[in-house]
Symmetry: C2
Subunit: 687 residues, 2 copies
Amino acid sequence: MRKQVREYFISTYERYESLFECLNCDKAYYEKPISLRHPLIFYLGHTATFFVNKLTLTRLLTERVNESFESVFAVGVDEMSWDDLNDAHYEWPSVADVMAYRQRVKELVLDIIDTAPLSLPIDWENPWWTILMCIEHERIHLETSSVLIRQQNLEWVTPHQAWRPIEDFGPAPANVLRPVEAGQVVVGKDLDSPTYGWDNEYGEHRAEVPGFEASRYLVSNKEFLDFVEAGGYQSPEYWSAEGQKWLEFSKRSAPEFWRRKTVDGKPEWHLRLMTKEIPMPWSWPAETNFLEAEAFCNWKAEQSGKPIRLPTEDEWFRLYDISDVQVRPETAWNANIHLDHGASSCPVNRFQHGDFFDVIGNVWQWTQTPIYPFDGFKVHPIYDDFTVPTFDSKHNLMKGGSWISCGNEAEPSARYAFRRHFFQHAGFRYVSGALKQTAPTSHYETDVLMSEYAEFHYGDEYFGVPNFPRALVELLAPYFKGRKTGKALDLGCASGRASFELARYFDEVLGIDFSVRFIDQGVQIGREGLLRYTLVDEGDLRIFKTRTLAELGLDDVRLPDFAQGDACNLKPNYTDFDLVFAANLIDRLYEPAKFLDDIHTRIRPGGLLMIASPYTWLEQHTPKSAWIGGYKKDGENVTTLDGLKKHLEPNFRLLDPPKQVPFVIRETSNKFQHSLSNVTVWERHEG
Amino acid sequence: MRKQVREYFISTYERYESLFECLNCDKAYYEKPISLRHPLIFYLGHTATFFVNKLTLTRLLTERVNESFESVFAVGVDEMSWDDLNDAHYEWPSVADVMAYRQRVKELVLDIIDTAPLSLPIDWENPWWTILMCIEHERIHLETSSVLIRQQNLEWVTPHQAWRPIEDFGPAPANVLRPVEAGQVVVGKDLDSPTYGWDNEYGEHRAEVPGFEASRYLVSNKEFLDFVEAGGYQSPEYWSAEGQKWLEFSKRSAPEFWRRKTVDGKPEWHLRLMTKEIPMPWSWPAETNFLEAEAFCNWKAEQSGKPIRLPTEDEWFRLYDISDVQVRPETAWNANIHLDHGASSCPVNRFQHGDFFDVIGNVWQWTQTPIYPFDGFKVHPIYDDFTVPTFDSKHNLMKGGSWISCGNEAEPSARYAFRRHFFQHAGFRYVSGALKQTAPTSHYETDVLMSEYAEFHYGDEYFGVPNFPRALVELLAPYFKGRKTGKALDLGCASGRASFELARYFDEVLGIDFSVRFIDQGVQIGREGLLRYTLVDEGDLRIFKTRTLAELGLDDVRLPDFAQGDACNLKPNYTDFDLVFAANLIDRLYEPAKFLDDIHTRIRPGGLLMIASPYTWLEQHTPKSAWIGGYKKDGENVTTLDGLKKHLEPNFRLLDPPKQVPFVIRETSNKFQHSLSNVTVWERHEG
């Protein structure tokens, strides 16, 4: 195993260095190929620093190699927007120093591989997993740096023996749509899986994919030319809003790597490769960003009258399942991948996989699916911001790998996602078919208050204090016996947990909150079966958390309804409830007296009202003049309980002495609010 | 017992009403006698409303009599400052309606006295205590309303058979100082005491009173005239700063009730009584506020070359002890008190009590002691703002009672206190003697944060979580074995509890905090042996709390020193500590790195450093750039523990893995902060 890892490391590390041999001058290293990202010198140092940083984190490395390098080479520019220019000033070290640094890191890593204690299997928790992670990280940058070299000034790069493009320039085939029959896809690695994977590949995802048609070939430069010549870049109607904005910013009229040249007095298209420009190879796949691919499909749909669009990730998996690329030979792959055939694309009709070509390899294939976590997704603690920041509905998945994709990148399970305006060695295949599936949610709640409430309602228990909404409903359960349990109203439902708990007992539950953001949490966990949120650990550090209804035993209750509303001004049709449940509500109302005086009109005679509150009156929520207790009146103390009795006794009977139910709201790993809610249960007078 | 209470009630209630028979027109009721207080109609209704409100509170009364009256008559104007004008608009009811209301209340109270369940003894918790409280409250207003009548326009009042002044106008005696020998006074009621007392009279107070001299007589009008004629009111040097301000505001040149008249063409002094003016009775006691009495003493001291001043409360008690007024006859008292001799003062040489005259009675005697709580003071829950608001060092005690003082007021144990500029039937006796005693503290901390910390350090435990400062010191105690325990530094000591706990182990303890207000709590509990503070119950309601060192078993530890200081910039002489104790400090510093990098210079080699913190980094305390952890650096998580190690390991050795110690800070009766402090113990490298 050590030997395997050693070879895997050396080949990756050295191949990465050889990529930089294509650069022929300092400018190539220090001038940015594109304004949005660091110059290539950064990427040369970065992959070595990544080893040092991650191996330090896992304690395999005990001392830093070069603290200054490990700071400047640590974090790339996250190109989140096309006009998000990086103007920070950097003092980059010399190429020689960086290469010497890489050498020193290489020795240290080899020493670790040779001597560090090794226990098998190498799974997520194994420190050796980090070594594999660093190697795979290097492989990712092998690909992204090759793109940056391709974007660098042509004069500063030189063809290189090890990076020769494929010389195969046949005519482009006419594309056709071929059927893919309906079927189930089951994807997602489990933690016992023998190969390395990034955290976003784990968990489970199942989908029934309806039948669809897919283009036999990736869209070739030739096929894309029709769009260009049809004025596609000048026709905003084919572009999404995001696409139109990008077009306006970028002023494009053709793909990134296309070059318009005049040869023998005639205009001619050429193509920029890594180290040279060649006459346009029309049979090679068109390389575009997602926005261009999407616009092409819209144009194509109009042209053909068919529902042409980009495939979903599930559809790509389905295509993969029905093709015959699953088995890879020990020698060269039957696909333009893994650098097995050369350092460029090749014709879209060269590698056949059953009915289709290039199901994997040649160039990445954009999907219309923004990356999202599979069920059971967990963040890998050693690289906790690899995936989660991309769960923002703005990063679309690419599938299939390109000619330079190695290691994990070449696996069908790989799930790389980039901003939709971003360029890689990426093109697309189109499909035809109705799209019924909505994109799975990828949202992690990052708002501190929203996340605190998600944890409060659905998360863990602290200090042995039972979940509060559940405890309240259980406290009420004995009162339900012998009473009608038709309709319950959870007023001030916040994240909605009590609504779900009440649904164990009531035929219909309606959760109402003033805040739509809270309502959304209840709606989401109902619809998706899970909530994802981020908890404050300490300072700016965050913990990523997912909680499912199934874990809470709530996956088979009838879903509550949720609606936005004002407890002091409810819609007139909210009536005849058998229970109004008002947890931690009254001291957050701007007019609690109005609420208390009117609430009997919502409850049928004999029905129940539960008020739970810590009686924490704050002027920010309730003007002092509107407090129903917690003040002196005519010199005497008026407690909130006094106020409740005053306002409720005309219409209700207090069923039992007040009880206290504790609750805990987690703020950080070390800080909690621990409160006592005073619970009174009232029965509306009969008649 | 019912009969006794019945008679006591009727006589008090009726005597109070008879006082208002001195008023001869509506203006007398509705025009304010002095701008700072309500008109007399308020006081007519007020004492009846007080019965209703307090008896409702104890559930002896179940229904209000007149909700509107019980609102307008509930709360008097608290005259806290002489220019604190009350401009609120009131709609006062008619006299007839108020009298009818009084009659209705009288019947209800009599019904309660006749029929309410009665268990003996009538102690604090007994609902009947409230009946006595209401009667005593009426007696207080008997006196204060008589003062307001005396301040009302002379034309609107009429002499009354039941309120005839004493007609005794002999010449004023020359005053002399007479010795009072040293002795101990032991005062303070206990809860078994058979007579009614206000809460401020309970508890215990002992004092050794050094010998002093006291004037045989109260200062007569004649004696005070010398001060007036000497230009005392025009000589700011005799007046305290407060006295000068009052003088400037009031423009006085003689006492409140003195009237300058021209009789037969000659100027002559007269005196305003309740219902008439009479030629100045020179032998009667001069009536002044505290500020005038104090100025007189300062003038007298200058004149006589003796340390003339007002007595302390203790000195009055000592005077009382050595006089022979303890035993009261069943018939008329041998003192001008209790209305036994008429409705006015009388000559200062009429009632002799041993060597002195008027030790009790005639007029109240100002003392220089601001009212303060005796040890063991507790607030009576039914009237929780009777006393506590006067614990502000601005309300001075008056002793001895006046001609109209009845019931509790006539008791030597009575402790009434008024603002120093306030007028009552009050004058003074002066004493001569050095004053060594400082005024006992009367301060109740009302600031919310300060009170929360007082409770956090010295108060109760919640959720079973042990007292945090004590728990930390106990966690450290095993490390003290075999180590030097000379000097300990409690850095960021806040209210100082850990300093006291460390004093169990260390020869010297120094507590340092950035906040002088925190330091003051440590200093105070050390000096006074107790802390008094107010806790938020709910909303604006407060709970009054006292905690003594003795209750905490800390009354015999060597007192720590406390000093203000900045943990990031300590004085150079704070060195050679055997322990630096830093609890919940580092995440509140503006430069924690500087503190951590320098702290070894304060600790002797081999000495200990304890850091306890919930690692709650907040930009309001520490700029993000100064956090030592809780952020990502170069893409990787840096925890606070990482930061501690980085900064401390050059000079310290971490002795054990970190531990977590919980702590709870009470915010309201129902809301708490519940946190976990991460504790690391470090040993400074030897040499």
